[in-house]
């Protein structure tokens, strides 16, 4: 029932008047940004260089982190990892058995990490024992884009086995992430994917982004990826 119509209803000497009021409620993301800023300050203060590693399920995030950690440890740096997953501790076990200082972060049902959860994990994490910290996000190319964690840098990992249309299907996360690893390039010919399609799409969206072709299994591209992250 429209406002005007009701004003004409019999029996009422009511007069309906529509008006607009300006209100300013707090931005719902403000709290997330404040918490991310708090994480950032904590990491800076403790001299830890942290990276948010996002990417699709099965794209190779965990193995890439392990490979980067191997190279960094050869340089004498101490490396830690936070394994973000909906459930289970499989990635945590892989990090821990490789000798990384590790923590498990199960989100329960949430499909992404957020600054609040990461903040609590950082409170318990032995930050004094690491120089570089990789925070592996939940496998997902949608939600992590909206939730900054307070890291120094972001990396998104996709693999050629997901198809050469991945960037076009999830443009917003790629437009906002400064480093892209196109992983499993050794399999490109087997799955009929041209990795350069992914690279070109990413460059269109993100002219300042850095893109590296990697194969975590063999270690190809890992040094270049570290350089792209400023490590």
């Amino acid at each position: 029932m429209g406002t005007r119509f009701r004003a004409l209803l019999p029996g009422g000497y009511h007069r309906a008047r529509m008006h607009d009021i300006r209100v300013g409620t707090e931005d719902v993301f403000k709290r997330q940004l404040e918490l991310a800023a708090r994480n950032y300050e904590l990491l800076q203060r403790r001299n830890v260089r942290a990276f948010n590693v996002m990417g699709a399920i099965g794209s190779g995030k965990t193995l890439l982190i392990l490979r980067m950690a191997e190279r960094l440890r050869e340089r004498g740096l101490r490396v830690g990892a936070i394994a973000g997953d909906v459930a289970g501790d499989d990635d945590y076990q892989r990090f821990a058995s490789a000798g990384l200082v590790a923590a498990n972060l199960n989100t329960g049902d949430a499909c992404h990490l957020d600054a609040h959860r990461v903040g609590h994990t950082l409170e318990e994490f032995p930050l004094g024992e690491v120089d570089v910290l990789f925070i592996e996000n939940v496998g997902n190319l949608v939600c992590p884009a909206d939730f900054p964690l307070g890291t120094e840098g972001d990396l998104v990992v996709i693999s050629v086995t997901e198809g050469d249309d991945m960037v076009r299907k999830h443009p917003k996360i790629f437009a906002q992430t400064d480093v892209l690893a196109v992983n499993k390039v050794d399999l490109a010919a087997f799955v009929g994917v041209d990795p350069m399609v992914l690279v070109d799409d990413y460059r269109t969206l993100n002219p300042h982004g850095k893109v590296v072709l990697t194969d975590a299994r063999s270690g190809r591209g890992v040094e270049e990826l570290l350089a792209a992250l400023g490590l």
Partner: protein, 126 residues
């Protein structure tokens, strides 16, 4: 993906606001600024709003979204304003987060917000 929790956060904020600044009459629409970069389904947000407001004084109010286009500030040339979009061949227009003038690295200054900016009130007076 987070429409329900975001609708909840909007409703919480508005409920707090209305407790301190009550309005006379029925709220028919709630106007929201929604940054273009947010990955958020407008249909799902409206549905979450409908469910969450049922049985409250805000029941039946419509959520009206005003899309806020991306704005950037360029670190190189000082440009401030809208960006270019990836067009041809892309299913949706996607903002390119670089300076449209000098192609320099640019910082996003608008396009990630989600906040209530106004209410439409149907005020019935005797």
């Amino acid at each position: 993906m987070h429409e329900y929790s975001l609708a909840h956060a909007l409703l919480d904020g508005l409920t707090d606001h209305l407790r301190e600044h009550p309005v006379a009459g029925r709220i028919t629409a709630v106007h929201v600024r929604k940054g273009e970069l947010l990955i958020l389904s407008e249909e799902a947000l409206a549905e979450a709003w409908r469910i969450l407001t049922a049985g409250t004084p805000l029941a039946g109010s419509a959520l009206r979204l005003e899309k806020v286009p991306v704005k950037v500030r360029c670190g190189s040339c000082g440009y401030e304003g809208p960006v270019k979009y990836a067009g041809e061949g892309w299913h949706f227009a996607v903002p390119i987060l670089a300076c449209p003038r000098c192609e320099g690295r640019a910082e996003v200054i608008e396009g990630r917000e989600l906040a209530i900016i106004g209410l439409s009130v149907d005020e019935v007076t005797g």
